[in-house]
């Protein structure tokens, strides 16, 4: 059993999905879903422990050896993502006993679970696999189920949001497929290990450069990197709140994983930053993302939309860290991956808590909730402080490494822009706080009370993580640093 863990990581949620549909009875389906999520988490943690002690795990699917067979390859980076995605899934799924909170109507509940499990399976597969085409397959599995999840939102605008997401996402995935095709065309292999060996030798050919271009653009679409981010605000604000929490905390993270794989593992930093000078493109785009996302967030009247635009900005931080191509920079990007997942997941869940009582996510409707729903609003406050980067929260840790990486390379302007955009976060977080704590509740507002512990617990688990890992970041930073060293080390980064 133990040696099959890599594939079980994907199979458990994958099989649980149709089972949920067959089972029909929501209560049993709920049990099934919880079991599947927690089992995935257990497997992910076991795999991480194994990778930490004995190094990269390889697993040949069906016994067919690579490079002809599909190989699952779990190294430190993959394990990091596996743990992150399964933790978020487990927490968000334990949020769902409050079905009204998730805004799912009754007869669609089993469909919801099936889609969520499929999305989870897809994302776990992307992280676990070592075969390029397999990545595409899992990417589409997770994306198509994500489109359906978004469409489950309450308003009819959710349908259009899901449709746009589908169109743009499919184009992105098709670009990735094209890139894979070019890579295969030049090297004759789909195994990422072998590609990592052959591709750097062929980087002078135009085909390989085109392959990189398509892969980069495709992944950027999935990552919602400025200016290809247009699908994200609609999708995250129209989706049911629990879905937004899940997707915000996982799908962009997996796309970032893909970017890291493409840049560092497949093509190598020497090519990407050395001859293609991708940093000249990526740094301005990241900074544009940081500012456009934050500024747009300040003007939103809907809290979910505000958080969605904030996510666009945070993706900019992650890619900025990557574009430095140093150990510190990549550590910053990777640690922000984890930190943002905790922050945004927690924030969307707190919005879900609030939404379950007031039935809306409009900023004006949050009037006076500071007193009526103290714990839900408190969780929003802590998450917001983390977005700003107050020391003691994980946001500070990320900012520390990003500014450090910028200063290490003498990029004073970039460092200044990083801190400037953090200040924008103060503006949009404080808008919400002022309404919630200072605007009085008027007579015709519905009387609301705090949500129960079943909804508060998962929210506070994620928000608590933002404080815990902000006060003692050894674990997350240590992991991110090990991963960064491994990645920058093999293929050679830019020395600071």
């Amino acid at each position: 059993m133990a040696e099959h863990l890599p594939v079980l990581q994907v199979i458990v949620p994958l099989l649980a999905a149709p089972l949920c549909l067959l089972v029909r009875v929501p209560r049993i389906a709920r049990v099934l879903v919880t079991v599947a999520a927690w089992t995935s988490l257990a497997i992910a943690v076991t795999l991480m422990a194994e990778v930490r002690t004995s190094g990269t795990i390889t697993y040949a699917l069906g016994g067919w050896a690579a490079p002809y067979g599909i190989e699952y390859r779990i190294d430190l980076l993959s394990a990091y993502l596996l743990v992150l995605v399964s933790v978020v899934a487990a927490v968000v799924l334990s949020f769902l006993p409050g079905r009204p909170a998730a805004q799912i109507s009754n007869h669609r509940e089993t469909h919801f679970y099936a889609a969520l499990l499929l999305s989870l399976a897809g994302m776990l597969g992307i992280a676990a696999t070592g075969d390029a085409f397999n990545i595409f397959v899992f990417l589409e599995i997770s994306s198509i189920s994500a489109y359906s999840l978004v469409a489950l939102g309450r308003r009819r605008q959710a349908l259009m949001a899901a449709f746009s997401y589908l169109i743009i996402g499919t184009i992105g995935a098709s670009f990735i497929l094209l890139g894979i095709g070019f890579m295969y065309h030049m090297t004759g292999t789909l195994n990422m290990d072998e590609l990592a060996v052959y591709l750097p030798q062929l980087t002078s050919t135009r085909t390989v450069r085109v392959a990189f271009a398509f892969l980069f653009v495709g992944v950027s679409i999935k990552l919602a990197l400025f200016p290809l981010h247009q699908w994200l605000p609609n999708a995250y604000s129209e989706a049911p709140a629990a879905v937004s929490a899940f997707l915000a905390a996982t799908s962009t993270k997996i796309s970032y994983y893909l970017l890291v794989r493409v840049v560092f593992t497949l093509f190598g930093a020497a090519f990407v930053f050395g001859s293609l000078h991708l940093d000249r493109l990526l740094v301005p785009l990241s900074i544009a993302a940081m500012f456009s996302g934050s500024i747009a967030a300040i003007y939103q009247t809907n809290v979910k939309r505000l958080l969605a635009y904030s996510s666009v900005a945070q993706v900019g931080y992650m890619t900025l860290g990557l574009s430095f191509a140093t150990v510190t920079g990549l550590t910053g990007g990777l640690v922000h991956l984890f930190n943002h997942a905790m922050m945004k997941g927690g924030l969307f869940l707190s919005v879900a808590c609030i939404g379950s009582r007031i039935g809306s996510a409009q900023l004006d409707d949050l009037r006076g909730l500071g007193r009526r729903m103290p714990f839900s609003m408190a969780s929003f406050v802590v998450g917001g402080l983390s977005l700003i980067g107050i020391p003691g929260t994980v946001g500070f840790i990320s900012k520390w490494y990003l500014v450090r990486a910028a200063l290490e390379q003498g990029r004073w302007l970039v460092a200044g822009l990083i801190v400037a955009s953090s200040l924008l976060a103060v503006a949009y977080v404080w808008r919400v706080l002022e309404v919630a704590y200072f605007a009085p509740r008027s007579a015709d507002d519905p009387v609301v009370s705090e949500v129960g512990w079943k909804l508060l617990l998962p929210t506070w688990v994620l928000i608590g993580a933002t404080v815990y890992f902000g006060l003692s970041a050894d674990l997350t930073v240590g992991l991110a640093q090990d991963v960064a060293r491994e990645l920058v080390g093999i293929t050679g980064g830019v020395t600071p």
């Binding site: 500014v403 290490e408 460092a415 400037a420 200040l423 404080w430 902000g470 003692s472 930073v477």
Partner: protein, 500 residues
């Protein structure tokens, strides 16, 4: 009690006190009793640390590691000890005052007030006891956040707008400049520890050193160095106990304490003086000193005048830090205590006047010395200390500052310091003179408006608890004069260079 435990206790007591206050919210008398006991306990814990620090020990405690290689560390040295004593000692007086004020004024949200107050003291003590820059930054930001509800206490549009200025200026400076300075220091020196003699010597030189100093000085928005001073007058919208303790003592002293500590323990006094990197800061501080005093001259609102006076007095401390001679550093450190005692007296009086007779503008205060004699005498004594006349504490700190400027042959700055005192006379003495010697204005058209709230013991037209504390602190100004050389001796060890 070992020093290590005392340090943790000093931080934990106010924090737990805040929690206890929240739990006791339905029983105001219990709540207030908790507050008083916690203030006494905290001061006791802080006091117990004086002897070991004076003996040369540097007790500390490492809490946890936030970043690899950068722990959250507490460590006490004389400067921090002084600040901690000032903050925790004056907290006792202010709590008494706050009880009088909040009840006399029938303020709302009193629980939130007392809880946030306690948390601010915890944060201030955290700053005082910080063992490295990271810990200081952590508690510095916490102080900003925890004092925000106090500034916006009244919840009105005006309070919210003031809160936005407060937060905006403080956050922008701390995240924009101070954080950058922190990262730069870490990259240049590999450490963020406070060490005798500083850590940047030899690692950062020339104009980058001046840049780094600029980032630190302007990054410490709480030191109210112009042009980042706007938050201070804006914060006057808060109830007077808040202005008194926080914006005369805890928050602003956190700012100048930070500047002073960084000059002594990060840059190194000798290093800074020799490099000349702080010359620009001397001019910036001098400008703030004079400009703020001039603005104070024209303000009719008493609290606004006191606010600009505070900005000016803080500049004294920053100037002392920038001059970077032994005497000026000592003077700056002493001024932390002297100004705190003097200014809190003035704010207490302003609050007592407001609660008692509902007056806020100086032009309305003619002849009030007759009806509120004790209050105005306290105001007089506090003013004399701020102006810097013996036999009040302010005289000694001014003396050391002038001595320090002279040591460095900076006649210009000696003149600036003198000018500051003259301007202080100009903006403080008229208040006293008008109070005692001018004819009172016609009685208010509506006597009911100025009728005091019933059920409060009245003395001097204001609640007793609003008049007693300023009298105590005014006496404190006198006492500080007598103990000034004790303070100077206590602070002298910080000037020792690093062990070779």
């Amino acid at each position: 009690m070992t020093p290590g435990i005392a340090i943790i206790l000093a931080l934990l007591l106010p924090a737990c006190g805040a929690l206890a206050v929240i739990l006791a919210r339905r029983h105001p008398n219990v709540r207030e009793t908790i507050t008083i006991f916690v203030t006494l306990g905290t001061f006791g814990a802080v006091l117990s640390l004086v002897a070991p620090v004076h003996a040369g020990l540097r007790p500390g405690a490492t809490l946890f590691e936030m970043l690899p290689g950068l722990p959250i560390r507490l460590e006490i040295e004389p400067l921090g000890m002084l600040y901690a004593l000032v903050a925790s000692g004056l907290w006792i007086v202010t709590s008494l005052y706050a009880i009088g004020y909040m009840r006399g004024h029938r303020e709302k949200h009193q629980t939130r007030f007392y809880a946030c107050f306690a948390l601010s003291i915890a944060a201030a003590l955290g700053i005082a006891f910080a063992g490295n820059l990271l810990t200081l930054f952590l508690f510095y930001e916490l102080l900003t956040l925890v004092t925000y509800p106090l500034v916006t206490h009244h919840g009105t549009e005006k309070a919210l707008a003031a809160g936005r200025v407060y937060l905006g200026v403080l956050m922008s400076t701390s995240i924009g400049f101070l954080f950058t300075a922190l990262v730069w220091t870490y990259l240049a020196t590999g450490s963020l520890d406070f060490r005798a003699g500083g850590i940047v010597a030899g690692k950062v030189e020339g104009w980058p050193l001046a840049m780094l100093l600029a980032l630190f000085a302007f990054g410490t928005g709480k030191a109210a160095l112009m042009p980042f001073h706007r938050w201070l007058p804006a914060a006057m919208v808060a109830p007077t106990p808040v202005s008194a303790l926080l914006h005369a003592v805890a928050v602003v002293k956190a700012g100048v304490f930070t500047v002073l500590k960084i000059v002594v323990y990060i840059f190194g006094v000798e290093n800074l003086r020799a490099s000349g990197a702080s010359l620009w800061l001397m001019y910036a501080a001098a400008f703030t000193l004079v400009a703020a005093s001039v603005v104070a001259l024209v303000k009719d609102n008493l609290k606004a005048r006191l606010a600009y006076s505070t900005i000016s007095q803080l500049a004294y401390i920053v100037l002392g830090a920038a001059i970077a001679t032994h005497a000026s550093i000592l003077g700056a450190g002493m001024h932390i205590a002297m100004h705190a005692m003097g200014k809190i007296t003035l704010f207490f009086c302003a609050g007592a006047i407001y609660v008692g007779v509902h007056k806020t503008e100086i032009s309305e205060l003619d002849g009030i010395g007759r009806t509120m004699p004790w209050t105005m005498v306290a105001f007089l004594l506090g003013s004399l200390s701020i102006i810097g006349l013996p036999p009040f504490g302010g005289a000694w700190s001014k003396w050391f500052l002038v001595l320090g400027a002279a040591d460095r042959h900076q006649a210009f700055f000696v003149a600036v310091l003198m000018l500051g005192s003259l301007l202080a006379i100009g903006y403080l003495m008229p208040v006293v003179v008008r109070a005692f010697f001018a004819q009172p204005a016609a009685p208010a058209a509506d006597p009911a408006a100025s009728r005091p709230a019933p059920g409060i013991r009245r003395f001097d037209q204001a609640p007793l608890l609003c008049v007693l504390p300023p009298c105590l602190t005014a006496a404190g100004c006198l006492a500080l004069f007598l103990f000034a050389d004790t303070i100077a001796d206590f602070l002298r060890p910080i000037l020792e260079a690093a062990m070779p």
